[in-house]
Amino acid sequence: MELVGDTISNGSSSADPPVPAKSTLNIVKQRFKKDEDILYIFESYQLKGPEYVTHLLVLVSSESGGTYAIVSFSCQRTPLSSVNELVIGKVFAIDEQFKLRQDDTSSIAAQQFDLFSGEEGPIKYYYYPSETAKFEEFYATVVNCQALMTAIHLDTVLNFRWLNDYRQIGEVKQELKKRESEYMIYQDTKIYCATWNVNNKQCLNGSHSLRTWLSRSEQPPDIYAIGIQELYVPAKSMLSSTDAAADAQWINNMINSMYPGVEYSILKSYRMMAVFLIVIVRKPLKQQILNVRCNYVTRGIFNALGNKGGVAISLQLNEGNICFVNSHLAAHSGQKAARNQDYQGIVGGMSFEDGRTINDHDHIFWLGDLNYRLKEREPQPGPLDDPQLLLIDDELREEMNNNQCFIGYSEGDIKFQPTYKFEPNTDNYDMRRLPSYCDRILWKGTRIELLEYNSIMEIRQSDHKPVYGVFHVKIKTRDHAKYKRVQEEVLKAVDKRENDNQPQIEVDKTIIDFGRVRFNEPSSSYFNVYNTCPLQVDFSFKEKDIDSICEPYLQIDPREGSLLIDSARSIWLKMHADVRSISGLLRKIRTNDNFDILILHVKNGRDIFITVTGDYQPSCFGLSMETMCRTDRALSDYSQSQIKELMNNNSPHYRVTMPREFFLLIDYLYKQGALQQGAFPSYESRNQLKADFNAVRDWLDTWSQDPFPASVETAAQALLLLLDLPEQALLEPFVENLLNSASKQEAMNYIDLLSPPNRNVFMHLCMFLRVGIESGYYDMHQVAVTFGRILLRSSECSALPNYHSKCCAFMKMFIESDEELMGNGNDSGAGSGTRSTGLHA
C-alpha cells in the first residue's frame, strides 16, 4: 500500500503543470470519492456522426484499490461550469491488457489514438486529442502508471472494485454512493475466531467440553468462526468432500459451549475432507446477513487430494463483506516454500459464486494450522515460555516481512507458548519436533481491532493446543432513517437534473404568417431555432396522423437537424398552392383559420407547435362551380374569410346559372375561330402551366374588361384547370352511375340530377366542343379522352376495367351531334344560351 502511495505522489508531481485550470479539476473531483486522486485530465474528442463530442479523459488512482484507471466523461463544453455536465462514458481499468496507442499509420487519422481495456471486451475506443502537443505528456503519464502497476506482485491487494461505482450503475446509485458518509454508520460487532487441529480425535463427551476454548471473551460475541483441521471423518464419507454435515457431535458441543445466556444459530458450516469451518451467529443477527457463500481449494498431494487446503465462507453483514478462511497448509520443517505455495494457491483459487475472491472483502479473517515452524537453530531455542524470543525465529513472521505470503495481513502479539507439538493429554512438548506456532489467526481489512489472542493449554486431547482471537469490528451499516432521507434527496436531485437538463430549444416565433398567398405563386418564410440548454439538441418535425409532417402546399427545410450548444439556425418554410395542392389548401381554409400546425419535436424534450397562417387571395381555380355561382363580384374582391363562408354555403340558391369565369373562357376561345386549332393537346399537358398563366388568373379573378392577356393555348389550359382543380369532379356524385349507364338516355337522367351550375357547365361545354369539332378545330378522340378523364375523375372508378376508354366513350356520346340528344339537349342548351346573353348583358 505504501509503495502505491509513493508512486501516486510521484505521478502527481510530474503531472502538476498539465492539470487544467483549478475549476475544471475541482469540478471533476466532485465525481470521485475521497481516496481517489486525479492525476491527469486530458481533453479529447470523439466523432459522432457529423458532430464532435468532447471527452475528458481523467486518469485516476484509487487508494483502496491501489490501481489506476481512465474514466472518460463526455461533456458538452469546456471549461465546465457544473459537475452535472459530466456524463460517464467509458471506464478503462489500467490492467494488464490495457492499451493506449496512437495510430500513426494513416495520414488522415494521424492524431487519432485508441484505448482498450481487458475488462471491456475486444472493443477499442477512438479519440482525438484536442491539443496534440499535450498527447505525449498524457501518454507518458499513463504508461508510467501502467508500469508501476505491473511491477507490483499480482497477488497483492490491488483491485479494480472501486471502478464498479462508475460503471453500469444508475445515476441514483452513483449519487447515493457518493453521499455514503451521510448515512453510513458503523455497527460494533464482536467476532470470535477459533482454530484447532484436533489430530483426528473424537470430540469429547460432555456438553460444555469446549467452553474453555469458545467462551473466553468478556462480552458475548456476535459472530463465531470456528475452524478445525484434521477432523475425524469416517473413511466412507471422506470421498464426498463437500459434505456439509461434518460431525453432529462436534457441532453440538460447539453450540453448547458458546457464550452462556445468548442464543446462537448456525449460519453455515462447510467441510473439505478434514478441514472444517463453521460460522455461528447471534440469532437476531441472522436477518442482517445476506449472500452467504462458501468454497474450498484443495492442496496437498498433487494439489488435489485435499488432505491440505482451505475452505472459506463469505457473507455480507449489512454493508460489510466478511470472509473467513480456514486452511491447513503443508506440514513439516523446512517446507515453508510449500506453505507459501499453498497460501498462494488458496488466494488464487478461491472464488465465490458471485465472482468475489478472498481479497474482495472488507474484513478478512484467516485462521488455521498454517504449519509455519520456528527456524532450526543451534543451540536449541531458549525457554519455551518466552514468546518474544521464540518469535524471532518464526517462519511466518519472516515470510510475511519478505512479502512471500499473507501480504497485507496483520497478527496480534503472541503471548502464549508454541501450540505444537504436545504429547496428548499433557502439557508436555513432544520434543521429537521443534515446538512451533503452527496455529494462527490473521486478519486483513479496515476497522478491525484485536481484543484477545491466546491459546488454551487446558484442552489436551490433541497434539495441538486450540487458539482463539476476539475482534472488535466496525461494520458498515446503513442508518435507515438517514438513508431514506438521503435517498429522497438524491431522487429529487436526479429528477430535477433530468427536468433541468431536458433538451430545450427556443423559437423566435410560433406563428408563421405568409401574408398574401396566391394560387401558383410560391412564397417563403422562416423562423429561427436556438439551442438554449447545455446539451446538443436534435430536433425534427413530427409526423401527424396524416403520415406527413405538413400539408402538401408546404415544404420545410430542414425537416430535422442538430443544434450544438449556443447555436441557432433558420428553418425555411415554402408555401406553394399549385395545381397539386390548391384543393388541399381550400379544404383547409374551409375548416380552419390557419394553413397548418407543425409539431417541432425536440428529441427527449418538449414539442413546440408552429402555426402557419396567411391571407389567401381567393381565385377561381380550385373553387367548385357551385361556389363560383354564389359570387356577386370578382373573386379578387373577396377575403379569405368571405370565401370560406361561400365554400360552406350549401343553399340551393345561386346568383348565376353558370360561373362567369367559365363562360368568359369559353367565349374567348369560341371567338378565336380557327386559332383554337389543337388547343387541347393532351390530358397530361394541363398541369404544365404556361408562363403567362398568372395573367389569365388575374384577368378572370378581376372580371377584367381588358383584352385577353395571354395566348389561346393558355386560355385552353385555364379552362381545363378550372374544371379539373375543384376537389370534386364536375360530374360527381354520379360518375359511377354515368360510366355504367347503358344508354345516353339513362345517363341523361343522372345529368339532370346534377346541381344546376354543374349541369349547365357540362352542357355548355359539350356544345362548345361539338361546334369546335364540327368546325374541324379539334380532334374528337383527343378531346373526348382529355375532358372525359377530367369530368369523370374518380379515384374509386379509375380501378374499373377500361376506365379510360369508358370516360372517352361517355364524352363522345355527349359531344357527338345527335338528333335525339339535340332534342333533349335543346332545353338545357337554350338555357345556357339565355344565360350567356345574360352574362353579356
Binding site: 446509485k173 436526479v494 430535477k496 433530468e498 427536468n499 401527424k544 380552419n592 400546425i597
Partner: protein, 239 residues
C-alpha cells in the same frame, strides 16, 4: 423451448419499441420499477403548466407563458415501496391546438383534467374534454378532475359540490387544488398513481397492451434470460 424463446424475443422487441417511442428514457440501468405516462388537459389558462411545475419543482411559476406545444416533466415517486417514474405531458390548451393535441392522449395511464374554479366556461367545457379523453385513451386510464385556483375563493364561480357531483356521475377522481399554494397538488398526482398501481395489482390493466401507458421495468436490466429478470427483482434493485 422455442415457444419461450419467441416470447422472450417479442418482449425484447416490445421493450425496444417502448424505448424508442418513449422520450426521457435511457437504456441505462433504471431507478424505478414502472413508468406511468400522464397527460394534463383542459382549457387555456386553467393552470396546467403551473400544476406540473408545482409538482416537479415544488414552486409556483408566476407569469407562466402559454404552452405552445407539449412540455414534459418527470418525477420519481414511491407507491407501495415501488419506485414509479411519472412522465407527465403538459399539453397546450388553446382551442386551435385541440386537433393536434389529440395525438398525445394515446398511451396515457393517467389523465389530469383541469378547470379553473373562477371561470365557469372552463368548467362547462369539461364534457368535451372528457369525451376526447374517453375516446382517445384506454378504458382503464385513470381520469382525475382538478379544480385549480382554489386559493381564489373570492372569485369562485364553480362550487365544490357541483363539480363533485359531475365527477361522481362520470366516475372521476376529484380534488380542488391550488398550483399557487401547492394545496392538494401532490395529492392529485399521487392519488392518480396509486389508482393506476391498484389497477395493475388487480389485473385490470394489461401491461402488455402498448397503450396502457405503463411500462414495467425489471429493476435490473437483463437481456439474457427470462429467469434472471424474474429473480432479479428484489435485492438487486439498482436504486
Amino acid at each position: 423451448m422455442s415457444k419461450v424463446r419467441s416470447v422472450v424475443n417479442r418482449l425484447h422487441e416490445r421493450i425496444d419499441y417502448l424505448i424508442e417511442k418513449c422520450p426521457n428514457m435511457t437504456a441505462a440501468p433504471y431507478n424505478y420499477n414502472y413508468i406511468f405516462k400522464y397527460i394534463i388537459i383542459g382549457d387555456m389558462g386553467v393552470g396546467k403548466s403551473c400544476l406540473l411545475h408545482q409538482f416537479t419543482e415544488k414552486k409556483f411559476m408566476a407569469n407562466c407563458p402559454h404552452t405552445i406545444g407539449v412540455e414534459f416533466g418527470t418525477r420519481i415517486i414511491e407507491v407501495d415501496d415501488k419506485k414509479i417514474k411519472l412522465q407527465i405531458w403538459d399539453t397546450a390548451g388553446q382551442e386551435r391546438f385541440r386537433a393536434v393535441t389529440r395525438s398525445y392522449y394515446r398511451g396515457a395511464a393517467g389523465a389530469l383534467m383541469v378547470y379553473d374554479i373562477t371561470r365557469r366556461s372552463t368548467y362547462n367545457h369539461l364534457s368535451s374534454w372528457l369525451t376526447d379523453t374517453r375516446n382517445l385513451t384506454n378504458p382503464s386510464t385513470v381520469i382525475f378532475l382538478i379544480g385549480n385556483k382554489s386559493d381564489l375563493e373570492s372569485t369562485r364561480e364553480v362550487t365544490y359540490e357541483e363539480a363533485k357531483e359531475f365527477a361522481d356521475e362520470n366516475g372521476l377522481m376529484f380534488l380542488e387544488a391550488s398550483a399557487m399554494t401547492g394545496q392538494n397538488v401532490e395529492e392529485a398526482f399521487l392519488e392518480t398513481a396509486r389508482k393506476i398501481y391498484q389497477n395493475i395489482q388487480e389485473g385490470r390493466l394489461d401491461l402488455n397492451a402498448s397503450e396502457s401507458g405503463v411500462q414495467h421495468r425489471p429493476s435490473q436490466p437483463s437481456r439474457t434470460s427470462l429467469s434472471s429478470e424474474a429473480t432479479g427483482a428484489k435485492d438487486q434493485c439498482s436504486c
